[in-house]
């Protein structure tokens, strides 16, 4: 790659279900400037070249997790990906795979969130709400540290070959949330939660491929969570605490 490059090409996936029968690729030249992220490049296109391009963003600072897309062949956050770091003259930008495309780079996240809801991502605490605080020791909090930072961007789901081939597979994001509650000292519904995560489309579908760990922008380790649950499920079954 020439270092003195001052322009790159964005090869962007275009599809408008109201007008197009099939998707096509459209190329835009984007002027490089120091610190240019893929998201800023897309905003430049939107502002100066093509107002019809659709994509999602909000925080622009890797906080909201909404700008997940397929950039140069890898699921990434557009706002967190530096154009210069990709070291490419032409950068392909496509929507996340496996989800219905609404327009261009915008996908319908409903199937993803339906899976998330399946694991009941809230406390199933028995205590009367508001009566008293549920305190945690620093150690108890630390047990969650590896799993709690997920902001549901969907990158791991997009990177997972199992989710790509089995549309009903719960996927890394939902499963890591399931374990996040199991690991939480304030929840205490381990068996009910395991039952939600097991099942035909649940954690046994995971083949420890680790793609989710590779792409997670939050340093969450879904594979670790899934393996912990597999082990837990086996032990509890062997100990006679759960039935098949």
């Amino acid at each position: 790659m020439p270092i003195d490059m001052n322009e790159v090409t964005f090869k962007v996936f275009r599809f408008d279900p109201e007008k197009d029968k099939k998707p096509h690729w459209q190329r835009y030249r984007v002027a490089l400037r120091p610190g240019l992220s893929v998201l800023e490049g897309l905003l430049d296109i939107l502002d100066h070249q093509d107002g019809s391009l659709a994509f999602r963003f909000s925080c622009r600072g890797a906080v909201c997790g909404i700008c997940a897309m397929y950039i140069a062949g890898t699921p990434r956050l557009a706002c967190r990906t530096q154009v210069a770091e990709l070291k490419r003259e032409e950068i392909t930008i496509a929507p996340l795979p496996g989800l219905p495309i609404i327009k261009d780079l915008v996908v319908d996240m409903k199937p993803f969130f339906a899976k998330y809801e399946q694991i009941r991502p809230y406390f199933l605490a028995d205590a009367v709400p508001g009566e008293k605080e549920s305190l945690q020791t620093p150690q108890q909090r630390r047990a969650l540290a590896e799993y709690i930072d997920c902001f549901l961007c969907g990158l791991c789901h997009a990177a997972c070959p199992v989710a790509a081939t089995d549309r009903r597979y719960l996927g890394p994001a939902a499963l890591v949330k399931a374990y996040r509650f199991i690991a939480d000292s304030r929840d205490g519904h381990t068996d009910a939660r395991l039952a939600l995560a097991l099942g035909e489309d649940g954690l046994w579908r995971c083949h420890t491929i680790f793609n989710c760990v590779e792409v997670c922008p939050r340093g969450v380790d879904p594979t670790h969570a899934i393996q912990e649950m597999k082990r837990l499920a086996v032990w509890r079954r062997l100990a006679g605490k759960t039935r098949p």
Binding site: L96, P97, G98, L99, I101, T208, N211, Q227, K230
Partner: protein, 126 residues
Amino acid sequence: MRRRELWLGRRLGAWAWLLHRLAGIVLALYLVVHIMTISTARFEDGAAFDRIMRTFNNPVVKLLEILLIAAVIFHMANGFRVILLDFVLGIHHQKALLWAVMGVGAVILVAVAVTLLPLALASGAR
């Protein structure tokens, strides 16, 4: 409309997974051929089996055997890694684990190759 994509992205874990499945398919197919071959020992008082063994006794088949053993070793070594991961052992070191089991596998493969290669060369002389 959805985009379909299987992301491998040159990440080791994904390649190990894919190769594991390919090796598994190769081994399953081999097993069918193998069982068919040894079943011929029931016919013609074993003469049929001897005939097949003679046709198999050539350098090409011997080299294929080395490849077959490579598939066995890969499947075994990575299988061991997967078992460890299922016990949540080395979960944060899956790549190092892969290199480690591949290293052990490579040593076994070299041992197999130095044993089989002379046989392969000699079999051509018959």
